[in-house]
C-alpha cells in the first residue's frame, strides 16, 4: 500500500512539472518578455504601470518583465543563447546592448527609430545616443531612451560664499583653484569621486575625455592611446588627479570610495565638487533634503589639451534592443511595445525612477507634464536643460566612439584601467610606468579578444 502511495505521488509530481513547463499562452494572446538589470523598486513600479496601460490598449499582447542583476547578466544570456530561450526584448546599458549585437541576436531598429522620430527632431543623433549604435551600413542596433552623463556637481552656496562664479570655472586650473580656496580638510574637501578599483576606471575615461582625449578613433575605432597626442592627454589627466590627491583636494580615503560614498559625502556637507553622474541628488533627497537647494551642475572643465569648451564628457544611455525571433507575431508585438514606450510621456515617466540621474533622450519628453510633475525634476529643471543643451552633444561612450564594438562591453568589466590609476595615485608607480603598463595591457586585451586595434573595426577598405 505504501509503495502504491509513493508511486502515485511520483506520477502526480511528474505530471505537475510537465504541465508547469508547458503552460501555453491563451489563444490569441502573444506573450513577449524583456530582461533588464534595472532592478530597483522604482523601476519595477514604473514598468508595471506602463505594462498595465499598454495591455489595456493591446489586449492581445502580454508583456512580462524579468529582472536580472548585472552580475548574472552575461551568464544568463550565454545560457539563453545556447538553449535558444531568449526573451523578445532587452532593456539594458550600452556594453550589454553591444554584446548582444556582436553575438548576432539583435535586430536592426532603424525603421522604428524613423517612426519615432520622422523629422529627426527628437533624438540628438550624437555619440551619446543613436550614433553609438549605428554601424557603417546604416543599421541601428538599439534605441536609447535615457542618457547619463558625468559632469561636475557643485555647492552653489559655498561658491557664492567664496565669491566664485560657477561660470568662471572653465579649465582644470580654475577648478583646482576654486576647490583649494573653499576646502578646509578634514571637515570639507574639494572634490569627491569614485576611485575604488572599478570606479577609478570611469574616472580615467571621464578626465581623459574632458581633456578631449579619445582612446579610440571616432571614425574607425582604431586604438590611439599609443599615439603621442592621446598619450599626452591621458598623462595630463592622471597627473591632475594625482595633484588633487597629493594636495588633499581629494579626501584621503578616496581609494576605497564607491559611488555611494561621494554622493553621501556631498549630501552630508563634506565636499564642494563631485565628478558625478547626478546620483548625488537622489542621495541628498533621502539623507539631507535641505542640501538639494545648494546643489547645481556644470560641464566638466577643459583640460590643458582640450581645444573646446565644454570638452567631451563621459556618457552612457539605457536602451531597448529587439531580439531575433522566428515568430513574426512576437517581433510585431515587441515593436508595438516600443512604439508605446517611446511616446514622450512614457519616456518621461521611465526617467523619473532616478530623477536628474536619468535624463530623457527624447526632446519632447523634457517638456512633458509627466516629466515635470516629479518634484525633484521640477527643482532641477534648469540643470537638466543645461545638461541636455550643453553637455549631451559632447557625450562619448568609451569603445563606441565609432560605433558598437565589443570594447564597450569588455572595458566596462575590465579592471586594469582602474588598477593603473590606483597604482599611480596611491601606489609607487611613476607616470611613465603607469602609461606603459596601461598601453601593454590594452594591447594584450585586444590580442586576447581579436580586436583589430591597429586599423579599427570600422576602417574603410
Amino acid at each position: 500500500m505504501r509503495k502504491l502511495y509513493l508511486l502515485m505521488i511520483l506520477v502526480i509530481t511528474i505530471m505537475f512539472l510537465f504541465l508547469m513547463g508547458n503552460v501555453q499562452a491563451k489563444e490569441g494572446i502573444t506573450t513577449i518578455s524583456f530582461w533588464t538589470p534595472l532592478t530597483t523598486q522604482a523601476d519595477k513600479e514604473i514598468h508595471s504601470k506602463l505594462i498595465k496601460e499598454f495591455e489595456e490598449k493591446h489586449p492581445d499582447i502580454k508583456v512580462v518583465p524579468e529582472y536580472v542583476s548585472h552580475q548574472d547578466w552575461f551568464l544568463r544570456w550565454m545560457t539563453a543563447i545556447e538553449s535558444e530561450q531568449m526573451p523578445e526584448l532587452a532593456l539594458l546599458d550600452p556594453p550589454k546592448a553591444v554584446w548582444l549585437y556582436e553575438k548576432g541576436v539583435s535586430l536592426p531598429v532603424e525603421d522604428l527609430v524613423h517612426e519615432i522620430d520622422p523629422h529627426k527632431t527628437e533624438f540628438a543623433y550624437s555619440k551619446t545616443d543613436i550614433l553609438s549604435f549605428q554601424t557603417p551600413d546604416g543599421h541601428i542596433w538599439a534605441i536609447p531612451y535615457v542618457f547619463n552623463v558625468n559632469a561636475i556637481w557643485y555647492r552653489k552656496d559655498l561658491l557664492a560664499k567664496a565669491g566664485i562664479s560657477p561660470d568662471s570655472i572653465k579649465t582644470w586650473d580654475d577648478l583646482y583653484s576654486a576647490a583649494e580656496k573653499i576646502s578646509s580638510p578634514p571637515d570639507l574637501y574639494g572634490i569627491g569621486m569614485a576611485l575604488v578599483r572599478d570606479g577609478a576606471q570611469q574616472m580615467l575615461f571621464a578626465w581623459t575625455q574632458s581633456n578631449n582625449g579619445d582612446f579610440f578613433n571616432p571614425e574607425t575605432g582604431a586604438y590611439q592611446f599609443d599615439e603621442p597626442e592621446t598619450r599626452k592627454k591621458v598623462k595630463e589627466a592622471l597627473e591632475f588627479l594625482k595633484k588633487l590627491y597629493d594636495n588633499e583636494i581629494l579626501p584621503p580615503g578616496i581609494s576605497s570610495w564607491q559611488w555611494g560614498d561621494y554622493r553621501l559625502a556631498m549630501a552630508k556637507d563634506k565636499l564642494v565638487f563631485t565628478s558625478s553622474w547626478g546620483g548625488d541628488i537622489g542621495v541628498a533627497r533621502d539623507q539631507n533634503p535641505l542640501m538639494l537647494d545648494n546643489l547645481s551642475v556644470m560641464a566638466h572643465p577643459s583640460g590643458p589639451s582640450a581645444d573646446s569648451y565644454p570638452p567631451y564628457h563621459y556618457a552612457g544611455c539605457w536602451n531597448w534592443v529587439i531580439i531575433k525571433n522566428d515568430d513574426k507575431d512576437k517581433i510585431d508585438a515587441a515593436k508595438e511595445w516600443l512604439r508605446f514606450f517611446f511616446k514622450p510621456d512614457n519616456v518621461a515617466l521611465a526617467t523619473t525612477s532616478r530623477p536628474v540621474y536619468n535624463l530623457p533622450v527624447l526632446k519632447s519628453a523634457l517638456t512633458s507634464p509627466v516629466f515635470l510633475q516629479d518634484p525633484t525634476t521640477k527643482m532641477f529643471l534648469k540643470e537638466i536643460q543645461y545638461l541636455y543643451e550643453e553637455v549631451l552633444p559632447t557625450g562619448r561612450q568609451i569603445g563606441m566612439e565609432a560605433g558598437p564594438t565589443t570594447m564597450a562591453g569588455l572595458l566596462s568589466s575590465a579592471l586594469f584601467p582602474g588598477d593603473a590609476v590606483q597604482n599611480y595615485l596611491f601606489g609607487d608607480w611613476d607616470i611613465d610606468k603607469t602609461l606603459d603598463w596601461l598601453d601593454s595591457k590594452f594591447k594584450e586585451f585586444f590580442n586576447d579578444i581579436g580586436y583589430p586595434y591597429e586599423k579599427g573595426p570600422f576602417a574603410k577598405e
Binding site: Q71, F74, M78, W99, K103, P185, P186, V196, R197, D198, P251, P252, G253, I254, S255, S256, W257, D261, A265, K268, K270, T406, G409, L410, S413, A414, L415, G418, D419, Q422, N423, F426, G427, F445, D448, I449, G450
Partner: protein, 288 residues
C-alpha cells in the same frame, strides 16, 4: 549479490549521482578548461596546452596574489585561534553571565557576510567611522584615516574583520573539546599542587592538540579560499594590495571572461592547498 548489498548500493546511488554531478564533473571540466583558451565574451575556445600555466608562473600579479593569500590565511588563522581559545577557556569556567557572553561571542558568526562587510566599511570610514575616530583621538594617526584605503594597511584591516567574523566557529569547537576533558584529571593535578596556569599549559592544551590540529587544517583551507569578505571590503585594492588568489580567479573569470586562465589559476590554487594539507597531515601524523 546479496539482497542487503543490492539495497545498500541502491541507497548509495543518489549520493554517487550528486557527487558525480556536483563535484567530479565540475572538477573534470575545470581541468579541461585550464588547457584551453576559453573566453565566453568573444566565444573563443581553442586548445593551447600548458600555455595558461606558463603565463601564470611568469605573471607578477599571480605571485602578488599568492603572497597576499598566504599573509591573509596565516594571520587570520593565528588571530582566530588565539581569540577562540581565550574565549573558549573563558566560557569553560563557571561565572554568572556566561550565557550572555556566549551569545555575544557567537554574534559575529550569525551576521550575514554582507552586513558584516558594510558595517566594518562604515566603521573604518574616515568621515563617519568609529575606528578612524578612535585612532585619531588616541593619537595613533595624525588624521582620521580609512585603513581600507591605504596600500600599507588594507590587507591588515581586512584580516581584522576576518578574525572577528571567524573566531566563533573555532571557539565552539574548542569549547566542546574542553568540555570533553575529564574533570578528574584537572582535580588530580590540583591536588598535586599544580597552578591553574600549569594545568592549562601541561594538561589542557596538550589534550586539545589533536582537535586544534584538525581545526587548523580545515580553517586553513576555508580561509585560503575566502572571497566574499575581501571583495566586499576592498575589491582587492587599492593597487592590488589586498588582492588574494580567489579574487584574482573571480576577476579573470567574471571580469574579463577568461575562463581558461581562471581555470588554470584554480588548478594551481588547488595544488597549493593540496601541498598545505599534506604538510599538515604529516605534522598531525607525527604527533600521533
Amino acid at each position: 549479490m546479496k539482497r542487503e548489498a543490492k539495497i545498500g548500493y541502491l541507497f548509495f546511488l543518489p549520493t554517487l549521482f550528486i557527487f558525480t554531478v556536483l563535484i567530479v564533473y565540475p572538477l573534470i571540466d575545470v581541468v579541461w578548461l585550464s588547457f584551453r583558451n576559453v573566453n565566453w565574451f568573444t566565444m573563443k575556445n581553442e586548445f593551447i596546452g600548458i600555455r595558461n600555466f606558463v603565463k601564470i608562473l611568469s605573471d607578477p600579479i599571480f605571485w602578488n596574489a599568492t603572497k597576499k593569500t598566504f599573509v591573509w590565511t596565516i594571520f587570520s588563522l593565528i588571530g582566530q585561534l588565539i581569540i577562540a581559545t581565550v574565549a573558549a577557556l573563558l566560557l569553560n569556567t563557571e561565572f554568572g553571565s556566561k550565557r550572555i557572553f556566549r551569545s555575544i561571542f557567537l554574534f559575529p558568526w550569525v551576521l550575514p557576510t554582507v552586513v558584516t562587510a558594510l558595517a566594518w566599511r562604515c566603521m573604518y570610514h574616515e568621515f563617519w567611522g568609529h575606528i578612524s575616530y578612535v585612532l585619531y583621538y588616541l593619537g595613533i594617526t595624525a588624521n582620521r584615516i580609512n585603513l581600507l584605503s591605504l596600500t600599507s594597511t588594507s590587507l591588515s584591516a581586512t584580516i581584522v574583520v576576518n578574525i572577528w567574523r571567524g573566531f566563533p566557529l573555532m571557539m565552539v569547537i574548542i569549547l566542546a573539546a574542553l568540555q570533553g576533558i575529564p574533570k578528574e584529571i584537572k582535580e588530580a593535578a590540583k591536588i598535586d599542587g599544580a597552578s591553574s596556569f600549569k594545568i592549562l599549559i601541561y594538561i589542557v592544551l596538550p589534550m586539545l592538540r589533536q582537535i586544534i590540529g584538525m581545526l587548523v587544517l580545515f580553517r586553513t583551507i576555508w580561509i585560503f579560499y575566502f572571497f566574499d569578505i575581501v571583495w566586499l571590503l576592498t575589491r582587492g585594492g587599492p593597487s592590488s594590495s589586498s588582492e588574494t588568489l580567489p579574487l584574482l580567479i573571480f576577476l579573470k573569470c567574471f571580469g574579463s571572461y577568461e575562463f581558461g586562465y581562471a581555470a588554470a589559476l584554480a588548478i594551481v590554487m588547488l595544488f597549493i592547498l593540496t601541498v598545505i594539507v599534506i604538510f599538515c597531515q604529516i605534522l598531525l601524523g607525527d604527533e600521533e
